[in-house]
Symmetry: C2
């Protein structure tokens, strides 16, 4: 059973499903964004390769990244921790030290949560952010002639994961990612109309493909413009391209914005990687790499994307 | 390790801990209450004895009960489901049918969430409610001369659990509890000053003791006034009193309110069970039962209360 089938069942069953499918829900009457993400031991992390402190950092980063993808200002968090009976006191202390570090850096407060017993460590976090941008950011808002931008390099987090427990130049991007909160807010301030945005939690190609299909447009991406750490080539030889496109958990932002808005951005922080070329019935992504062209459509997406419910 | 020790570590580690300890957090700038609760398979429920539909109902009830204990109006929910790979399609459909039933009954919307893989079923729900009462309801607000009230019978949920998988007159109160949302809101409307309130998710005695210690008062409770299902005596003989006091998950409300406010309440819905007699350094509960008196203090509480982290 695939995640998309699960989501279809949920969407068909729930009477009110207009909020489903985005990274965050915008609650108009309260003028806030809300998001919830769960990390499960031995699915999303293993305690052999991440410290409790790093896990605290990462758990918060994952949720703040969702808020960043809506250009929202993080305000509040609730944290539900499910822990085995045998857990060490130090785990909780170190985990919350990581949480503290993030709360200070992103001026966010933990306002509640829950503590339960479980066999594996489960961390479910709910984050609330204020809407501060005048316009809306969501995946279905890309338009022809938009510029496609991203906020940083891709492939490192997946590379770090593959090489664990070995410490490599990629490890920290995997264990303690930095959510692009400031850059998301910056985009929200600069953009002069609604625009498309997602974080790359499930990979760059995944985000591009979802923006393309939800906006029903063709995205044309120049592979040579995608920023990446050149060390990826050393470690992974020709496979490095696959990591850049399909590796997840880099928690960068991808956005499609108006060219005139793009021109007002700092080019050292926002990297142009392509353009939205035209309307397209189902939406797809064309990636040009030197003389080759590579299409992300339903088939290639299905073959390559991260499957939450398959190994 | 006890839950209270975990909470102490969290409270000592977090830089901003003013929100911890209550069932919900009140976010002043947004004028909302927020709460999060997690249910773990084989800790809080087993799939042999609850249907997916009932589990959907109960998961929402648990969170709405927290909002009820703050006299808040439920508005939005996010639901994170972690599911084994082998889960049946029907589980999700039936679970969300249960969610739907509750959303319709309590005029609440599911606005987001997350779906992940895990070994056991884990349901983590975040609920948001609007503040509609003029005054505040929280466990530390009981005052001498307040009337202690509760909204319904106790002991049935724990009785239902003990007798599972047998169907008994108590089963439905355990599997599909009704959160006292309407009664919580009613109290919020009637009360003319801040008042103490909790739900009885961890048992009646637990709620009374927490109100007593957090408010630093003595609560004097008349056992004969506590409503209960007389069938408890048939099924449990003399042990029924223990179930009434210490059995959890009835999801009724307990409040300590001004006598003049109490006089304006419907006596068929709000049952007077005692009075707050006086200030007390540490706070405790005295329960009078015919000629006997029974004290809930640190020792008896520790011996009898539900331990989240012990068997």
């Amino acid at each position: 059973m695939k995640e998309i089938d699960f989501l279809r069942i949920i969407s068909n069953t729930l009477q009110n499903n207009k909020y489903l499918g985005d990274d965050c829900a915008y609650l108009e009457d309260l003028d806030i964004y809300i998001t919830q993400d769960t990390l499960v031991e031995d699915v999303h992390f293993t305690m052999n390769t991440i410290s409790a402190y790093e896990l605290g950092i990462k758990s918060i980063a994952v949720n703040l990244s969702d808020l960043a993808s809506c250009a929202a200002l993080p305000k509040y968090l609730t944290i539900s921790l499910s822990l085995p009976k045998t857990i060490n006191n130090n785990f909780i202390k170190e985990f919350y030290n990581g949480v503290n570090t993030m709360c200070q850096q992103y001026k966010t407060k933990v306002v509640g949560g829950d503590l339960t017993k479980s066999e594996k460590i489960i961390i479910s976090i709910c984050a609330i952010g204020k809407k501060i941008a005048k316009y809306k950011a969501a995946r279905q808002l890309a338009r022809p002639n938009d510029i496609i931008i991203t906020t940083g390099p891709h492939g490192e987090s997946a590379a770090g994961l593959k090489l664990l427990p070995q410490k490599t130049p990629f490890t920290s991007k995997h264990l303690t990612p930095e959510p692009r909160v400031e850059l998301g807010i910056k985009l929200g301030q600069i953009c002069t109309r609604d625009f498309a945005m997602m974080d790359t939690s499930d990979g760059l190609a995944d985000a591009l493909y979802k923006i393309a299909t939800e906006s029903k447009v063709k995205l044309s991406v120049d592979f040579s413009k995608i920023p990446f750490n050149p060390k990826l080539k050393e470690y992974f030889s020709i496979d490095y391209k696959k990591l850049i496109l399909w590796g997840g958990e880099d928690y960068e932002l991808v956005a499609c914005i108006k060219e005139s808005d793009y021109n007002r951005l700092d080019k050292n922080k926002f990297f142009k990687i392509g353009t939205v070329t035209e309307k397209s019935g189902t939406g797809f992504v064309m990636i040009k790499d030197k003389k080759n062209e590579y299409t992300i459509n339903e088939k290639t997406f299905d073959e390559n994307s991260y499957k939450h419910f398959e190994e």
